[in-house]
Amino acid sequence: MTDYIASLQQALREAAAREYPARVSSPEPTRLLLGEDTPTQQRRRRSRLNPSAARRGDRRLTARWLAPALALAIALVVAAAALTAGSGPSIVAGAYAATSPAGVIVHYVETARPLQPTSGTSTTSEIWIYRDQSHQIIDPYSPKNRQDIVADHGRVQTLAFDTLSSSRYSPVDTRCPATGVLEGCVLSENNSPIDALRALYRSGLIHATGHATVDGRRVEVLTGQSGNLSIRALVDSDTLLPAKVTMTVMVPRVKGAPPAAYTLTITDYQRLPITTGNLRRLALPPHPHARLVRAPCRRLYPGCAARK
């Protein structure tokens, strides 16, 4: 076709390529650790008493705030150290470029484990992030403790097991008061452990120290240390995408709890193309027994009140 209609199409295609450059993305399907509850699981939940509701409620508040707090703690260390650090070697620069969040939905699984058992228990979360939208499933393996947190441009919705009635999930709807506050409150493209990892790559604190083999694939070993932060990142030798990242960092304070050191492990990193199906990962899963509870932001995110 060489007519006006075809020429216009070609001009638009070229303009689209210039305006939105193609990004590296992996077509791998996402792995949902826990899908919708089965009727058996729902019955089991209904019949179970809930003696430790208050304690679990506290733990949930901590777990909810932990992931952003860890990201913030790492970012603070990086910001302090990066002032004197030089630029990283090419593998690190490649790993930084490979993890650009632009144009993809980033998916990963993180486990936060306190170094001192008295500081709490470990928490596993499965997370999807796209720009200012995120979906975090805390405790995806446990139907009783599972909690979904969805953030969308400052609006936060939570689907959690109802600790009072022991019988249903309750979505809690809240809204952070301002965009600036959002950064410290919830996970987003610019406030996540992956963003913190990228900041570490950029800071020059990480260096390539050798090779290893993980699940039969060759990986580059990147390590770094600064202050109370240490990191060991295994990145795929071909794609330079994270295979397994372990970071240890001191989190100053979470929901009034004393400072504690946590080890954060990131696995299952995936870059998902933006399709309608993948975008659904960012939405709150429907639940037949859910009832809406409105809660002030400061109740769920103590950091918001402090930053006002």
Binding site: D3, Y4, I5, A11, L12, A16, T275
Partner: protein, 187 residues
């Protein structure tokens, strides 16, 4: 232009465009160029003007595709809303605006007689959509016409139809879906 088969929905094509898939926008263009030409030709009464405005409409859609919210009003309605705005802007400035094309560094393409015939043919092809539109149930027809062809805002449309904004959106959405189904069946 015979659209190349692509299983992705309009929403997915626009989202993919913003994600760096230039071919996705080409597919979106193929799907809707005839409809846009048809509507613009009907409104301006000039094939040449319609072709020029269609270029600007798609350029503006390309620039704004990241603002498009999947799952909301249909992409066709969104696109025709842009076309309507471009038409209004052009009328105000007494010339076809080229702001979006300049921003994208796109050339302003000229049309020869063969091009004009081709544009007329395409606009005519999709003129069938306008005929089918008149055969829709009254509420859906009025809703689609007001929203898609005249660019009426949903709140205004709701007042005019005496219903809520949500219901007005449903009328438009159902009307467009029905039109598309009928066109597909005929094809």
């Amino acid at each position: 232009v015979r659209p190349i088969a692509d299983a992705r929905s309009d929403d997915e094509l626009l989202v993919a465009t913003g994600g760096g898939d230039a071919d996705a926008f080409a597919r979106f263009y193929e799907r809707h160029i005839a409809l846009v030409l048809s509507v613009l030709a009907q409104r301006t009464g000039s094939t040449e003007l319609a072709a020029d405005l269609a270029g600007e409409t798609f350029a503006a859609a390309l620039l704004g595709c990241r603002r498009f919210r999947p799952g909301g009003p249909p992409a066709a309605a969104w696109l025709l809303g842009i076309a309507h705005n471009k038409l209004r802007e052009s009328a105000r400035h007494q010339r076809v605006v080229d702001q979006a094309r300049r921003r994208l560094g796109m050339p302003i393409l000229g049309l020869d007689d063969e091009d004009l015939l081709r544009v007329e043919e395409l606009a005519g092809d999709h003129g069938r959509a306008l005929t089918l539109l008149s055969e829709l149930p009254a509420t859906q027809r009025d809703a689609v016409r007001a929203r898609v062809l005249d660019g009426t805002e949903y709140h205004e449309l709701a007042t005019r139809l005496g219903c809520s904004e949500q219901v007005a959106r449903q009328h438009v959405s159902r009307g467009l879906r029905r039109l598309r189904t009928q066109l597909q069946e005929e094809a």
